[in-house]
Every structure is written in C-alpha cells, then in structure tokens.
Symmetry: D3
C-alpha cells in the first residue's frame, strides 16, 4: 500500500503524572506529539505505511523524538536535522471540573527555523498516496508556511489526496501574516479538510448564510470557494467535564451532511490527540472501507479509544476500534 505522508512540528510533551498540578510535580512524563505526527503514528499502528516529515535538533532530544516514531513503525527517513531546540509543551492533566493546562514553549524551535529547501517533496512523495497537514504548520513561521505551500503544490501535482486540519490557534501566527493571508492558498490544493464554523470565519471570512442549517451553508460556500474540496469534516465535542466528553463526527460530501451517532466518552485518561485520532481514523476508513460514512464512524471510535490512552499516540488496533464502532463499549475483558 502507498504511504500517507504528514508534515508538521513535533514537540516534546512533558506531563505531570497522576493529575498533579504543576506546583506539585516532581517529575514530568515524557511523550512526543504533534497534530500531524499523531496522524502518522495512528495510521502506522493501524497498519497503513506512514511517513512523518519534520525538523529536529541534532542532539539526544531530537534522536529520542525520532526513536518515538520509529518505535511505532513511522518512516522517519525524511526528517531533517538542524536548528537549536525541540519545541516543548508542558501539560498538567485535569480531572472533573479542573481543566487540563498546557504551556507551550515552542518559539525558535528547529521546526520554526526550517529552511524550505531542505525538503525534496518530489522524493518524499514517491510511493505516497495521501498528504496531510494542519493549520498549525503555516502558523509557526514564514518558512514553515512556505514549506507547507511547496508541499501541497507538489502533492497536488503528483496526484496525492491532500487533507488539512484547518484549526485556528490564536497563540500562534506571530510571524507577520494573518491566517486569512496564508490559508486560502493552501486550501486550494486540498481534497479534504476538517473545519469548524469558527475556523471558516477566522480563516476564510465565511459565515453561515441561513439560519437553520448553518454548518451546511458554510460547507456550501467552502465548496464554491475551493472547488477541489471533496469532503469537509467536523467534530462536535460535548464537554461535560475534563473527565467526561461526548463526540459526534460529521462530513459534508458536497451533497449531504453525513453524521455519526454520539459517542459517550467517560473516564477520560488523556484527551490530547483526540482530534488527530479522528483524522487518522477517517483516513483509514476512506482508504480501506472506501466509504465515507464508515470512515467518520471509524474516526469517532478511534478518537473515543484515544481518550483512554496516555500520550498523543493512539495505540489502538483496527480490531479494537471496529469493536467500538460496532457499539461494543462494554469493556469486557479480552483473554
């Protein structure tokens, strides 16, 4: 099977154990994560060959990050070494009414200071069928945005399916341009996006034009603006508490709004990466089931399981996800 390629920053995630507050912690658990790399690792664990492309410092921390992805079978041969530091994000896991807190420390990372010329997209996309990125990548720095543009152009030219998680991060976009100046050109090359109503407004100044079916009307406008776009995904997260969410997946396929049942997600272990798990599940579903309704159902089930797993990676097998997709949330012991 041809590879899925993802491109974006990977950060070292330092998380207080046992729900400890930052002021209590005497240690951090180490994981690695990034919106795009979480998709690669999920796919690789599900058996889909996947490559992640990024830039790490040429030191032990960069090597440790590479190891984390190699461990789960992600192809890391196109990762570039250089720059001064790996981005870090600190996590304090919340519980019940206490939210999780994230402190980003990613400025001037090796990824942010990448040189677009370091990435030979023609080479990277050989034997690839899908390219995925997120709105975080162009938000990081001018050079990251430039590399991203070159990537989508090459991917599109070489016939890959291109997908993007168009998420607006207000604490990024500090390098000079606003998302509205950058994102539209990138989305022109996309076949699939995840995009909420808020994102559509922030990124493309698209707002619902009717009162009732508002997200549908946003999707219709997105389709008009970006004719290559075939699928517009969205998730609706119900936030009962830090330990209890619900999730619904949606997909506008240009004709109708597909939608999953609501998945109840109690006893959350780690919510981070839940959206990326949905995306990876969706890609798996499109590639293997070749059925969009099943793809979003598989995506929601994958995301649900991710909430029971510590770390950004969704270490869940296809069989496990399919069980949840088929309604088995009984948690009955597997012997």
């Amino acid at each position: 099977m041809k590879r899925v390629v993802t491109f974006g920053e990977v950060m070292m995630r330092l998380c207080t154990p046992r729900h400890h507050r930052f002021q209590q912690a005497t240690s951090f658990d180490i994981n690695f994560g990034g919106g795009e790399a979480n998709v690669s690792s999920s796919l690789s664990i599900m058996g889909i060959p996947a490559s992640h492309v990024t830039r790490f410092p040429d030191n032990d921390l960069g090597q440790t990050a590479i190891n984390a992805y190699r461990k789960h079978g992600v192809d890391t041969q196109h990762i570039v070494l250089g720059g001064d530091r790996i981005g870090v994000y600190f996590v304090e896991q919340g519980v019940a009414m206490r939210p999780s807190k994230v402190i980003y420390d990613r400025a001037a990372s090796s990824f942010a200071t990448l040189n677009p010329a370091d990435f030979d997209w023609e080479l990277i996309f050989q034997d690839a069928q899908w390219f995925h990125f997120t709105g975080i990548t162009p938000a990081i720095s001018a050079s990251a945005a430039q590399a991203c543009l070159e990537a989508v152009k090459a991917a599109s030219r070489m016939g890959l399916t291109v997908s993007a998680d168009v998420g607006y991060r207000s604490n990024l976009w500090k390098w000079g341009k606003r998302p509205k100046e950058v994102m539209p050109e990138l989305i022109e090359y996309c076949d699939v996006i995840i995009c909420s109503k808020g994102d559509a407004a922030d990124m493309f100044s698209i707002v619902p034009t009717d009162e009732k079916k508002s997200f549908k009307s946003v999707c219709q406008q997105l389709n008009e603006r970006f004719p290559k776009l075939k699928k517009i995904l969205s998730t609706k997260r119900g936030q009962i508490s830090a330990s209890h969410n619900t999730l619904v997946g949606k997909c506008w396929n240009g004709v109708e709004m597909l939608e999953t049942k609501t998945l109840n997600i109690p006893d959350i272990v780690d919510r981070i990466g839940g959206g990326d798990a949905f995306m990876a599940g969706y890609i798996y579903g499109e590639l293997i089931y070749q059925n969009t309704q099943k793809a979003i159902e598989f995506g929601v089930a994958a995301s649900g399981l991710k909430h029971t797993i510590e770390g950004d990676f969704n270490i869940a097998s296809v069989a496990e996800i399919e069980a949840v997709m088929n309604g088995d949330v009984s948690g009955k012991i597997r012997r």
Copy 2:
C-alpha cells in the same frame, strides 16, 4: 475453626501500571493470583483459616509466590515444589470503553506438570471442613484433572463440604479430553457449585427446558443429575464499561431461587478476582451466618469491594464488607 482448603494453579500476574497499554509499559506490577487461591486468601483475610494447595518451581519466583500467600495468613505447608516454571499472565488494565487484555503464558507450568502422588489428601484435609476448586484445574492437564478427582473423592469421603466454580475456559482443555468427559465425575462429589447457563450447556449438555424461568430449569436438571448438589450459585454481571459494572448474586437452594439486589460498581480499579471474591464471601456467609440469602448478599458485597482493590486478593475486612452489604456505599471517610 476448621480450615477451608483450595487447590489450583497460582500464576504470577504482571500488570502494566496506570492503565498503560502493553506497547507503552516500561514496567509490570507483580501480583499473584489464581481462581482457587483467591478464595483462600480472601477467607484468610476475613479470619477463616485457609490452606492453599498447589505446585511451584523450586526457585525464587516460587518462593515469592509462597510469600504472597503467607503474608495474608494462608497456610502454605502443603504446597509442593518442583517443575520448571511458574505460570504467568500479563494484564493490561482497561478503562471505560477500552477492555482489559489478558495474555496467558501458563503452558508447561509446575502446576500443569504436577504428579498426583505428590498430594496426600488425607493429610491435607485433616482439620478441614470445606474444599473448593474450579473448572480451571481439570482443564490444565491430565495430571491436574487426576489430582482434582483424587481430592474431591477424599474430601467427600472425609465429610468436607465440596464446592466448585464450574467455569468453562475455551483457551484451556488442550490436554486431550473435553470438559464433558471430565467435569461430570468431579461434580458428583460437590455440594455447591457456581454454574452459569452457558457452563451447564458446555460442561453437562444441560439446557433450559422452559422458556421463562430458564436458569431455574437448568438448576432443577443439575439437581437431578447430581443428587449431592445442595446449592447452585450464579452471578449476573452488567457490563456498562470496563470502569462500570453491576452485579447480582443468585442461589438455587433446591427449592427456590434466592437473589440479591443489584450492586452498582462504578470507578472500577481492578475487576480481576471479582468472581472469586463472591465465592469466598459466600463460603464465609455459609460458615458464619449459616444463612444462604445472607451468604450471597455478603458475597456480592465482597465482590463489589474487590473491584476497588488492585490485585487478585480481596483485602477487605468483614466489617467493611458488612457495611456494603447493609447498603452503605457512601464512601464516608473512616477516621
């Protein structure tokens, strides 16, 4: 008080901590457990003298297993040393919609390769009043089945109450005979069994003969087939998720079907050993209260508390179990 004797394999249980998946774990927590030994340890902790009989390798792991039972007061003097290895089972604790996973590695264990002649049941049953085993023991190997048969014969001859947890394990019974060829002879010597409808079908080809009160009709047939049988126990577990179950206990006493209220079991810490805790609680109840209805109520309460305790052992006092039995699940701090 006279002793309760149990006989069966004890395995080293290696469990990933903090709900980690096998692929994440960097350590295993060590516990020991076995369907019969869990009953002995429960009873000993409740103050009932109990002996466990098994076979361990003559190495540090066998000694460590013995220590685990001695620690809680279980008499281990009749444990035989020999053979090559202690059976192991690996556990990944599930949570919410993610099931726990168990990988057994028990083939060719010291118990499986036991020599029936090593156990002097006349000696072992001196000063004993009750003998308990499970359907796992005869499923392990021909020699284990043989030893089990010798044990029930001796126990019956010496006037002990004999109980069995007739649980069919599809991944055992690899030594040549099918359960239907072995179990009936063993059950002939039993006074009490735990047996589900499925077990009755798998083990004795007994199926409900009416439509409505189906388990009752199974019990009536069991009574006919095994005239020594006085009590047929059963539990009904509601599986809402890996973290949330419910439990009901039942007992057919030859006349009527006794039944407990449904116990709600949320926030599960460790579900393994829950059935054995019910059995131990039932035995305690019969011995101390001499009242079968109270015995199954105590058994369900004991099982409920077990779900809040890590490991196979039910480290709960009689007072704590009685509080739950009497409806106090408020969890109010005991100072």
Copy 3:
C-alpha cells in the same frame, strides 16, 4: 493587605499511593496538613498574605513541614520549635464504595505539648486582620486550649475578625475537659463560625426548637448565646460514594439563610481538606468581594476544585475558582 493568621496543629500526612490499601502499600506519599494551616496555605496561594502559627519538633521533619508552607508563601516566622515529635496521620485513599481510612498518630506531639507562653500574640497579630482556628485545637490538650483562648482574646482585643470551624472530633478531647466546658468561652470572641446542627448540640447543647427550619432556629439561638457572632456557616455534603460527592454552602447572616447552588463533585481525587478550602474561599470572598453570598459561592467552588487536587493544600488560583463559581465545570483545556 493585612495578614490572616491561623493557629493549629500541622501533621505529616502519609498516604498510600494509587488507592492502595494499607496492607498493600510499599510507600507513603508525604504531605502536610492541618485544618487551620490548610486555610493559610489556600489564602496564600490566592494572594492573601497569611501566617500560620504552630509548634514543630526541632528536627528534619519539623523543618520539612516548615518548608512545605514556605513553599506556598505562608509566613512561618512565628512557628515555635520544640517538643518531641510531629503528629502523623496515615491515609488510605478510598474509591467508589470503599471509604478512605485515616489512622491518627498525634498523641504527645510537639503541638500537644506546647507552652502557651511561647506565643506572643501581640506580636503575631501585628498587621493582621483575621484570626482563624478550629475546634480541633482546644481538643488536643489543655495547653493548646489555653493558647487558643489567649489567642482569641488578643485577636478580639486587637480588632481582628475571629473565625472558628467548630468541628467536634470524638476521637480527641482526651485531656480532661469536655468540649462544652471549653468551646463556649472561645466562641464568645468569634465573629464567624462554621457549625453544623450536630456540632451545636455537642458543643453548646443547642438543638432546633422548631420542626421545619431547624438549622435556622439553631442559628438564632447561637446568635442569642454569642452576641458577637455575625455569620454562621455550614456545608451540606452529599455522599454518593468515595469518588462522588455534592456540596452546598450556607450562611446565616443574622437575618436570612444564604445558600449556594449544589455543586456536583465527581471523580474525586482527594477529599481531605475540602472543608478547609471552603473556609479559605469564604474568607477570601469576604475580604475581596465584601459580599457574603459571593463568599460562600466562592467557598463552594474552591472546595470543589480541592477535590481534584492531591494533598491537603488547595493549589488553585482565583481565576480557576471563579470560573467554577461562574458555572464553568466543562474542564475545557486551557492552552
């Protein structure tokens, strides 16, 4: 801002990790706590200058206790060194239907054997505006009760607001006098107390005189008996399980019974110190909002967050507490 001063015993709290039972534990997590010191530390973390006054042994454990309070900014300069030992309490954290257990080992502690003359209250109360103690302090020893009386007299004389958490602890009061012989004199100097119906009966022989509005009638009698008293606080805890409580705060202001909405507190991490967090929140509210209704709402929100935090200290910011007070219990990640 002028300081809040608290006075009372601090114990080393040794808690089994991971909900382990005492018989399972191989280590204890170390924290420090005390009903009054928990109020100081909460207030200091919220930005209110606070001093705690107590007595520790002049050894490494006493120094470690001091460090625990200094860490969170509590002024410890008035802590006296001397005596033989720090009081200890052992905690086994419960879960679901299994209650937490506390074993106290505080007899003959440095605090219990204090010399009232060691505390120069005139000096201690310089620049202070509020003095808080609990009914535990006079229950510990004759000298502690004597020091407490001297403290409330000085505080009252110097114009501080005096508050007390009048909690009856049946396992204390072993030094010769009964609470009814001691507490009334102390409460005469108080402006604010937390007092349940049970406490009022145990401490002051005051029982409801009407049938319906019973706590109100208790408050009216307390007001008559203790004319200085301006506010009588009370909390009502719903105990669904060790992992799930609800909380309501009340305040009789001499005219009407103010009351908060019921806060749902699921997924409890650590319930100990929840009452002290309410008291600290209340004091914060009175000092900053100068509004009693808001003060009890802030207190309940503070207490709710405390239940998500391990240890006696309520390491929660004003912004976090206000979010809960304003109804945001969604636990949405803060990035």
Copy 4:
C-alpha cells in the same frame, strides 16, 4: 527442628528513597524492623523455624507489620494486639561522606505499654530451643523490662539457650532505671551475648584490666561475673564511609578469642540490620555447624550480604552466605 524465639519491639521504618534527604523526599519506602525481629526473619529465611513475640496496635498498621513477618515464614501467633500506636523510625540513607540519619518516634508505642501478663512464656517456649533478645527491650519501658526478665527466667528454666545483644542506646532508658540497675540480672540467665568494650563499661562497669589484650580481659571478667555465659561475641566495624565498611567477628569462648578474617563491604545499599544479620548467622552456625569458628564466619558473611539488601531483613539464602563465607565475593552472575 525446634524453634528460635525472639522478643522485642518492631517499628515501621520509613525511609526516603534514592538517598534523598528528608527535606527532599516526597515519599517514604515502608519496611519493618527491630533488633530481635531481624534475627527471627533472617533465621526463618535460612530455614530455621522462628517465632517473634511483640505487641502491635490492633489496626491496619499493626496488621501490615504482622504480614511483613508472616511473608517470610516467621511464626506470629504469639504477637499480642493492643495499645495505641506502632513505633516509627524515619531513615535518610546516607552515601559516601554523608551519614545516614535516623529519627526515632517510638514513645508510647504498643510495645512500650505492654502488660507483662499478656505473654505466657511457658506456652511460647514450647518446642523452642533458643531465646534471643537485645538490650533495647529493657531500655524501652518498665513493663518491657519486666516482661524480658520473665522471659529469660522461663527460657532458662525450660532449658533454652538464651542470647542477648547487649547494646547500649543512649537515647532510650528514659523510664526511670539505669541500665546498670537492670541489665545484670537479665544477663545472669544468658548463655551467649554480644557485648563491646563500651557496652561492658556502660552496662556492667567492667573495664579492661590489662593494657594489651583488653577485650579478652573484659570477657574474662564477664565470665566471672556471669557464670552461665559461654560465648561472648563482638564485631569490629571499620567505617571508611557510609558506602564502604569492613567487618570482623570475634568470639570469646571462655578459652580463646576466635576471630574471622576482615570482610570488605563496599557499595553499601543498606547498613541497617547488619549487626542483627551477624547474630542470626551466628545462631544458624551454632545450630547447624555446631562449630563456633564457623558460626562467626557465617555471621560475618551474612552481615556482609545484608549490606547489599534494602530493608532490615536479610533476604539471603544459606547457599549465598556460604559462598561469601568461602571467599567468593566476585559477584559472578548466577544463571
């Protein structure tokens, strides 16, 4: 084989992990230990039946202490329950030039407040051949001293070998009498003692009378004073650092001074209990080898191994100790 009986206080030992200082520690590792119980547990691990007699509080901590000894096969049936608390000692493990620190918190323990009438020595010494105690026991309280006297009288009367580790602890002996008023009467019943020159002076006012062979002259005087005494043991510890000691064992047998070679003890893991391991090894040697020279050699080897093992218990097999006794300190892997 007949049992060895020991009598004395057992404390909960709370030790900072990883050589952390008290002011750094966030947890304590839990072990149990006591000068006499360490001898019982060592002997039981070596296969010599051993009983320990003491008094514990009737709570979970007392039960946990009992479990710790049962785990290693020590007979605990004569342990009495009662009193308020288990004694505690806090340990900060030193390393290199930094000494270990011990903070005792044992006042008013269940053992200190024992009632001599609770111990039926006739019953306890049935089937026993040896009784061992230390100078710590009579130092704890008047009642402990009284019970000790009754024990040695009964043991002597019933023909047991009686041994004592006569160690003077300056921070005990607070109950009214000085060691010189108490110890001589106890030693009259002893067959074997461990006694240093300092102890002889402190306890019996015996000082060397010659210049050269000073310890020999002390032993000769002890023999004269206590005619029942057959063996006087002593160890000489070279203290190079907290991580590196040396050890020599000596025994005056009434005729000559037997002495072992110097054992080099580098890379110390835990020095506590090293003396008790020597005593247990000596008893083993006398009972099994029936050769005093071998007994002290085995004792020194046992003590050396103890220094490599965390906790008070010497979890070392006879084969392991004999290897060291025979000069194999190569640490070559045993596969």
Copy 5:
C-alpha cells in the same frame, strides 16, 4: 553501507528495580535482549545499518519486542510472527559481593518452535555484508539449529563475513544433540569467532597443547580445524565484585595475539550485554577502521560503557566510545 544481519532469540527481560531481590520486588522493569539482537541494536545506534531476524508470538508482547528494536533503527522486516510465547528471563541485579541472578523461562518459545522454512535467507541477505550468530541459537532447539545452519551456508555462499560468539550454555542444549555434534559444522562457515579456552574444549574438544601460551595454541588448532577462520576473539573479565570488573580484549589473527590494555570498570550499573557490546564494537571497528587492533580496542571501550547503561542495549555513540578508547574515563561533564 551494506547491512549487518543477526539471527537469534530475543527474550523479554524482567528486572527487579533498585537492586531489589526477587522476594522484595513489587515490579519488574521491562527490557528486551538477546545475544545477537544486542549486536544489531548496538550497531544500529552506532550508525551501521542492521537487521535482526527472529520469531515472535503474534500478540502484544511480540509487537512490543519489535517496537523495542525499531525504536533504535534496527530493521525488523524479516521477523517472523507465530508460535505461542516470547521467552522471558528474570533478572535480579546484584551489587558488590551479591551476584546478579538470572532465571530463564524460555522453553517452548516462538523462537524455539520456529520452522526453518519461514526464513528466506537469500532475501534476508540481500544488501548485507556480515552475518552474526551465537552458540545460543543452535542450543535452543533442533529447528533453530537447522535454521542457523541454513543461514551460515547462505551467508557464506553470498560472500558475507560470518561471525559467531561460540558460548557454551550448560542450561540449554536439551533438544537431543550435544554441542560437539552441531557446532563444528556451523563454525566451518565462520570467518570470525569469539571463543574461550573453555568453549574450545566444550565445543570442539580442543585443549591447549603447550604450557605457556595456552590460548594461542588453542587458536592455532582452531585455525587448522576451521581453515576459513580469520580471527579468533576472546575477552578476559576480571571479577572483583558484582559492581567492579575489568576487561581485556584479545584477537588471534592467525599470526599474532593482539591484546588491549585492561579497562577498569567500576560502579557497574548493568553487566548484562557486555560481551555483545564488545562484539558489536569489534564489528564496527573492522568495518570502519579496517584495523583489527583498533577494532578490539573499540570493542572493549564499547563494552565498558555498556556496563554503565541499564538494559541489554548499548546506547552509546561512536564519539563516546572513542573517547573511552582514547583513554578518557574522567567522566567530565559534557555541556
């Protein structure tokens, strides 16, 4: 650069933490190791492309083992899935005079029950330049020995350098043939072996024929017997204690006995895998330096560093090893 291929069993290594004895441990640290796979992982970490070939069960433990090698860049594509279980070995790390203990539990592992036909050596050796195995592999089972023979034949035929660590393990070789019946045929295809005097006697009945230069005379006989053999390696380990060794490397190149200086190895963290680290270092040296004297010096330095690293893998860079090789053992901080 062409790959190095290794073939042999990988076991899950379960090691007690903090030098705990088996009877103390409450958890095991998880690592993976095997004599041949340790060579692959070392080489991969040094930048030499390496493949390991083995057989794992098709379960989570097998996958976790694969992950452990992928993490460090070892090519795992030729690993075969099947069989019932992964072999396990339990380790208790010794210290000072206390030896490490290893308990093997590898019988009937997936590797032992491999089918030689599952390995397509022509395919596996494409792009490979070196094949390495150890005497453990043919000792495990008849089929493992058969696969090994097929491998060396194919490797030899395809022009790879073939090396073997000829180590006699007395607790293996239980499948019917003795090493002398199996090993000689395998060694006929080898270019390089590690072989001690003892191994030569056990495996080939070759004993020194002179008195003085005894190992040299063994080597000369080995050269005569196995004409393809170009290098005969040997290490000499000085065992001062479990925490302190010394190491010398030797190589008979057919003409003279090359020898390294003695490396002092104090403060040992983990001695297991030290020999494999030497072998990997030697292979690195031959491939990169193309100088046998440097190769054994690099091997000894690599082995020395391995002793400071927990686990079977030698996670040390070429630069770090070269520093030790060049005599820098000062441990000066690298900033």
Copy 6:
C-alpha cells in the same frame, strides 16, 4: 544578620532518573538551579538570610521556580515576572566512565530578555552585606550584562562585599560582545573572585609570568589590574571518573596562597552545583568564622557533601559540613 544577595538566571533542570540515558528516559525529575541561586539557597539552608534576584515568566512554571526557593527560605520578593519562558537544561547523569551530559535550552528566556530598569538595586540591597554573581550572567544577553553592571556599581557604592565566580562558558556570549570587553569592568567592583588560570586568560588576557608558581603569578597580576580585589579563590578538581572526584580549595589573599587538604569524593550522586556549594561555604566561612583558611576548608567540605545530594541545592546543615571539615568522612549513622 544582613542578607546576602545573588543575581542570575534560574533554569528548570530536567534530569533523567536512575542514570538513564536520554534515549531511555520516560520521565524527567524536576529541579531548579542556577550558579548564583545555588549560592543563595545554600546560604539560606545554613541560616544566613539570602535573597535571589532574577526574572521568571508569569506562568505556573515561573511560580513553581519561586516556590522551590521559598521552600528553603530564600527571599524571593525581588524576583521580577515577565517574558516568555523559563530557561531549561536537560541532564543525563553519568556514572563511572560515562560522563554526565547537559543540553541547554535557555535562549530567549525571561532572564535573557530582562529590562535592567526592572531592578531597583538601591531597594534590593537594603539590609544586605554581600552581593554575588557569576560570569554566566553577563554572558547571557546585553541587558543581563547591563543589569549586572548596575548591580555591582550599586553594591559597591552601598558598601557590600562583591563576589564573582568568573567562569567562562564557551557556549554562551552570543549577544555581540566578547568577555574581554565586558568582564573587566565588572571585576573592578569585586572584592572576591573565583578565577582559574584558564578564566584569567580568557577573560583578562592574564597568563602566568613565571614557570613554577604559575597561579600565584596570575593572582598577583589580577591584584595589580583590579586593586579592589582582596581574595582570589580557585578549586582544583581531580576527575577520576564521573562517580569519583577529588577537590582542593585555594585562596590567594594578596600575600600568600592558602590551600586546603585534598578531599576525596567517591560515590558521587550529583556533581552539579559543587562549585556553587564551595562558593556558598566560603561566604559562610568569611561571615561567621571571619577566617579565610577556615572559609575555604568549610567551602570544600560543603562542596564534598553537595556531591552526595541530588539536585542543585546543597541541603546540608552547618553541623554536617563542619563534621566533614573536621575530617569525619566515616559516614557513621546519626541516630
């Protein structure tokens, strides 16, 4: 007693536990440290009032850093909040021949981007008697160098003793100026410096002018160049391995070269902060003993103890340091 004030960057130190390599670690232990803050914390622990001045981000990590110093009694009221991030350094603790590795990630930290105007040195130095900084501070950024210059001028003007640890860090000094352009002006205001021969060359172009007593000749030139300078300190570290060092302290007092005995430092737990512990010890000695020879002896003893303590802080009491200073390195247990 008047305060000692220190000024410099504090970093979060993230250290792999148990000597794990970066590529093995699954968690980091959290500590805080900085060359100057280590001096403050040491002095505060010894009972000398000390203030540390620095700049932290206004987030939970900054607050946690403040807490770490408050815990040990360091006055933190002059710490400024602002900027984007706390500097981080990652540590892999070496052992034996394997060096510790440090990866700095401190660029653009809150300290590096400080505004000199934020520090009111007149206010900060009220009630202070000594100001200490290191050569790291001016190396970080232009503004840090500027603030440092303002501090030494104010300190000198206000009559404080000014000391500097003149250490050249080749991986800093990236802000535009070379040390030779910056350091001399700062040193003009100093009374005491620690300066090696290498530092003198790098910073001041001063090289030994004679052959034999070379450091003395450097000191004489330093005295000529910087007339205010009264003491020039130096330490000589013998690096036997990462686990074994030796240390000598020296002081040129303008007349003669004082020197300590060589302290043997085996079994090193944590070498980081050893130099700062020497400096703090020296300051203590000058302030309390008012004797320079004793001051450097105390400094060397303090530094030796620091090597046995994990983390940057020297948690050692004056009594403990004095024992080492007086030659007691026996590590005999303190009970």
